[in-house]
Subunit: 455 residues, 2 copies
């Protein structure tokens, strides 16, 4: 076997030509979306006022294992993909671990994260449908930036509702989105009914993804030629993000590497679901076994402390109900800086897999995450996003366990993005002003009490 | 010939193992550094209080064509290199040009630019010499960040003097440097004699690279176990940066591509000198011809409006004299946002080559540069640094000329870095608040009057 390079890049000819639909291999399919009024499963026509047609088809299809990636999207992918699978030689050496550590680095594009993989797909289908534009929400700003880039490429209008706390912490994100021609509104805002209600009930709130979603949906359904697009949680997003896992698997296979453990941060589940897709497929088909680990912030612990139940996807309760691990749609997380992980729920696909025991989850407090982030930056050279650093933290912990036991485990983790727009959070960390917020059982009981009752 | 991919990545085995010293092929060598007091050429021992020993050897060697890259540096390079040579298919299509456009993208690392190529080399030699730490100046912050990363890797202390106007425009750069453990001081500061004098003479000044250099040098020569390192201008820096051009040439050769034109932005000359090195070598040896273009800001036009003469490298006049195209060391450029191009002088190597007619230079105003930057971001997906955007502007202009003439020129330009920390400048541009500053002939005459008289 040839020596494994620091970075494994695939050739263009080795890049995936189809997305992999994990659901096709699931025995227990993810539960269907329900109409929030009637509690009946949503059909394509019910979703059509909100979502693009082709994306609805992808959303509802639990059986087709592969969806061909249209040539236009593959061409766009070629501008920033394949992303490197990096062998963390330096980190291994500094930790003194016998573990072999790899990370799939999705941050080498201007959006700074993996979000572009789905943004370009969603913009493509919106354009193909002849729409004028799309609306969306963004937390950390990565999704909003990605969508702005994608819309600019296909000449679509792009309206972004950005969670207010992120908007204020990341003024430069707004400018990046403006560079790509998007409009950016801090949420809650007075531009929507939902936003105005939130501002009345919680003046001074920093907002939440759930509320920003409600605002974006409201604008989409009330504007001619617009639809709403979402950067995580949905089945279609996990489908698009499977490109991460497919590239990872091809790169590993090329060098005959079989991972023991796959680790990803989990907010709504887009990165984790994409990274693990082909590996989970093998596991579901009984062809291989992997220890698959979701890492979530202790401040927003959907998997580890949430409930598996139908819930609203948004605070305004205008979206369909999804069955998922949730903290309750009324949960407003503390102004945790990992903005991308501040969502109250979790992908239905991942929720079902977790419930069926195919993966496990851990939660980690913020200051430990930043300690791992700084360590990683100094050793591997890449300044990671706070979201990604959750996976780094657990990967380092696992590598140190290997040091104790002497196990030569192969650990793969997802490095979803860079932290260049998170320097306010890093500054707080450097100045010792970062705090760990962990919701009390009472907090959670209160927000879980808002779950809808489904017969 | 195989179809040329969007991005040409070399394999690790194709990466350069030696830096190329362009001076070895120059008939007219760059003029030697002179002692500012005696006006005699500086010998190694004269430079030893300021610079690291091995770096002095590299600085003074005009004859050795190749310097082997130490294994430790090659290993570090593998963490973020090879950098991609990108075929700008999308840009070509949108411009409707028959030209073939390539860019060597050096921004895919946390320092955000090519500066890391020399930073890691300089930190390595400082460590090898047993030093405690190094001092430096930074303009845009790219060099300071790069050096912080390199020092952190080799566990060296790092003191950065950052031009005040950049320090204020880029608060997050400071935090990145702090993440890597560096100390950052806005210049002019009251921590040095030179700084205090500047503050007295020009209260409220935004500073300049020349002044920040003086401060960093003063601290280096007065602190035990410290030396000064510089991110541009010097011969050693161009030597290290030759890795850019060597990779570019290997990538082009792999696909049988011969460029007609090579374009790079020029501040102190580190990127341009590195990018063109092997091509200029061929030109000097009469083996090939290339149209080589330096692009500088109209606000700081050393090549196009400066004088080829001995000058001080710094405002405090503590550094050796260098013969170069200069605007005078007293020149304080307007608060142009391309911080990395705000230096009054230019690499001695490039100055000599320019004077000998081996390359040409153009200057471009700032707003046109940002127009090109935004266009490029929207089409090619990468949000470029203002410095790099100077090269983009001219590459686009040249491609549009080809559209008129029908010429199928192959254009290669250097995309030195990303603009993620330049969003204040982009914001000004979006808000229509950006201005073009072009020094008057009187301004230049005044600063050129400060040139030292050499017999």
């Amino acid at each position: 076997m040839s020596k494994i390079p620091y970075k494994i890049y695939l050739n263009e000819s080795e890049m995936p030509t189809a997305w992999y639909n994990l659901r096709a291999d699931m025995k227990n399919k993810p539960a269907p979306l329900l109409n929030p009024g009637t509690h009946q499963p949503m059909a394509a026509e019910d979703l059509a006022p909100v979502f693009c047609e082709e994306l609805i088809r992808q959303e509802l299809d639990n059986d087709t294992p592969f969806f061909e990636i249209p040539q236009e999207i593959r061409d766009f992918y070629k501008m920033y993909r394949p992303s490197p699978l990096v062998r963390a030689y330096c980190l291994e050496e500094k930790l003194g671990t016998p573990a072999k550590i790899y990370y799939k680095f999705e941050g080498n594009n201007t959006s700074g994260s993996h979000k572009l993989n789905s943004a370009i797909a969603q913009a493509y289908y919106a354009k193909k449908q002849g729409l004028k534009g799309v609306t969306t929400e963004t937390g950390a700003g990565q999704w909003g930036t990605a969508l702005s880039m994608a819309c600019s490429y296909f000449d679509l209008d792009c309206k972004v509702y950005m969670v207010k706390v992120s908007y204020e912490q990341k003024p430069f994100r707004r400018e990046v989105m403006r560079t790509y021609g998007a409009s950016v509104t801090p949420s809650p805002s007075d531009t929507t009914n939902v936003g105005r209600q939130m501002l009345e009930r919680f003046p001074g709130t920093g907002g939440s993804l759930g509320c920003a979603i409600s605002e974006a949906v409201e604008v989409a359904v009330t504007s001619e030629g617009y639809r709403y697009v979402l950067g995580s949680v949905l089945n279609q997003v996990l489908l698009h993000q499977s490109v991460i896992g497919l590239e990872t698997k091809t790169a590993l296979d090329k060098y005959g590497i079989k991972p023991d453990m796959i680790i990803g941060c989990a907010g709504g589940g887009s990165n984790l679901g994409g990274l693990i897709a082909p590996f989970m497929g093998e596991k579901l088909r009984g062809e291989a076994d992997y220890d698959i680990v979701a890492v979530e912030p202790a401040s927003c612990p959907s998997f580890t402390r949430g409930k598996y139940a139908y819930d609203f996807c948004d605070t305004g309760m205008v979206c369909p109900l999804a069955k998922m691990y949730t903290l309750g749609s009324g949960f407003i997380p503390a102004p945790n800086h990992a903005g991308g992980l501040r969502y109250h729920g979790m992908s239905s696909i991942l929720s079902q897999l977790y419930d069926d025991g195919y993966m496990r989850a851990v939660s980690v407090p913020q200051t430990e995450v930043f300690e791992a982030a700084e360590k990683f930056a100094r050793i591997e050279g890449i300044l990671p996003a706070p979201e990604s650093s959750h996976a780094i933290k657990v990967a380092i912990d696992e590598a140190l366990k290997c040091k104790e036991t002497g196990e030569e485990k192969t650990i793969v983790f997802g490095l979803t993005g860079t932290g260049y727009f998170d320097m306010v959070a890093y500054e707080k960390f450097h100045d010792g002003k970062m705090t760990d917020y962990i919701p009390t059982d009472e907090d959670l009981a209160k927000s879980l009490a808002t779950l809808p009752v489904i017969d």
